[in-house]
Symmetry: C2
Subunit: 284 residues, 2 copies
């Protein structure tokens, strides 16, 4: 007989974190402040460890709380999926979505566009920046929902993550000279893909030369297609005229990275949950 963790306790937990206080969480959830206090206490009793430390007007998370935070958000996402599956209401609202520059590709935009087409009442504003800027923007509530690279050691507001393995892309018409340094085309630093290309080459003892630094993926793809050099792409960004390159071309495999969906449950509208569900269904 497994332990059932009441959903409303988890909801209270993440709401307190999202809104930074018991009193504000109580307002948002339509309860009084002592009710939230008791919910947190009951949750701590179930978990068997303290979770939130009230400290100088700030909420501090224990280690257990950080672990629970990620899992609780996953569980609430499914809860909201269930609710949405049977609600059958017209979604509407205004959503500010952030995607990393190196992932703002046709695939993601297509998925968002499809959702927007299916829910005409939802206005979506997509903003494309570096992952770390996206996380700052989510914290500051300038964005409602972001996809960003997820640090392996965890980070607040992570709802779901999935692995993406980048690979080398080269023009279909070109063979790499194994004697010459690898001609690298990449995004400007800081960039997870650039990091992975360099560390893979470094580990393999293969020299390289950066030939082009370009902000958007389309530019890199065009340059690769023109035969200028190689870059790291993902299955979603591999375009016509390009092929994967691998050990056969003298290029070492690239380490996988982890993309995460982040949002604050207490801040996201039903339309936001709908979009999250729709995107994750296509991504996983």
């Amino acid at each position: 007989m497994p332990t059932n963790i009441p959903t409303d306790l988890l909801r209270a937990f993440v709401t307190v974190i999202d809104l930074g206080g018991y009193t504000r969480a109580a307002e948002a959830l339509g309860r009084t402040q002592p009710a939230i206090s008791q919910k947190l206490r009951r949750l701590e009793a179930i978990i068997g460890q303290p979770l939130l430390l009230a400290e100088a007007g700030q909420i501090r998370l224990t280690d257990a709380a950080r672990t629970l935070d990620t899992l609780a958000r996953q569980m609430l996402r499914i809860n909201d999926d269930i609710a949405a599956s049977f609600a059958d209401e017209r979604l509407s609202g205004w959503l500010r979505v952030g995607v990393p520059t190196d992932f703002s590709n046709a695939f993601m935009l297509q998925a968002i566009a499809d959702f927007a087409a299916a829910h005409r009442g939802v206005r979506i504003e997509v903003s494309s920046r570096a992952s770390r800027d996206l996380r700052t923007a989510l914290a500051a509530e300038e964005l409602d929902m972001i996809f960003a690279i997820a640090p392996e050691d965890g980070m607040p507001w992570l709802v779901q993550s999935f692995r993406v393995t980048p690979f080398w892309a080269i023009s279909a018409a070109v063979q790499l000279d194994p004697a010459a340094p690898v001609p690298l085309l990449r995004h400007p630093d800081p960039c997870e893909y650039a990091d992975r290309m360099r560390s893979a080459l470094r580990d393999a003892g293969r020299p390289w030369r950066t030939l082009l630094v370009c902000n958007d993926v389309e530019g890199l793809v065009a340059a690769v297609r023109a035969g200028l050099g190689v870059t790291a792409l993902t299955p979603a960004t591999l375009a016509a005229g390009l092929r994967r390159a691998d050990v056969g071309d003298g290029l070492p495999p690239l380490a996988p990275l982890r993309i995460g969906l982040f949002y604050k449950h207490a801040r996201l509208s039903r339309a936001g949950h709908g979009l999250a569900q729709s995107l994750l269904a296509r991504l996983i």
Copy 2:
């Protein structure tokens, strides 16, 4: 303010399905039969639709119930993950795990072996069969937990699924003759990979010839390495001496398939949940 779906209602729901009756579910959950009845009624009130129809000693699921079943199991899996995260107990027991023949590769076995090494009290018996046989075995409770190909139209006991995109593998030393029929190495029918290879070739108007039919992946890989022909592999099964082949080699892309983890919540021990969690963390 979103709807919180009480975890215990979902637990009752899947337990009734898993054990095929209210009375048996009541025993398993340590409640009386009317308590389970009422839980189900409350869940139906939240969902807004009838879920289970008692019919001739059998439980029949409505369409809504089938939808809910998958999501409820996902939510309970996370619930049990949370419980396991803070329980910190020695796992022990006996687990019968099923993996599809075309997925019983080193990667999966390694992951299972790692878990077994970390939890010495758990004895694991891995059984490798065709996906459809695995599902029958799960239904008959000859297996506790299976990975199997998930039909797109849903199927009972699906807890989590993820996409796998197969690709063509060819010996690194060989070029395919574009004029000749594609030399196919494959598993015996029924096989999802074989289906995908044939339908991709058929759609592309490319003729093929089956050169070898072999039950296990290792045999196919050896044959591909020897230069006999091509087969469909996944990232986890791609071995040394092999390379991906793609449109550049005259081979059309293969359709992705969906692998699912299936188990009956009411039947799976804590050790089983631990293994599920451990495997999914490495797969997603």
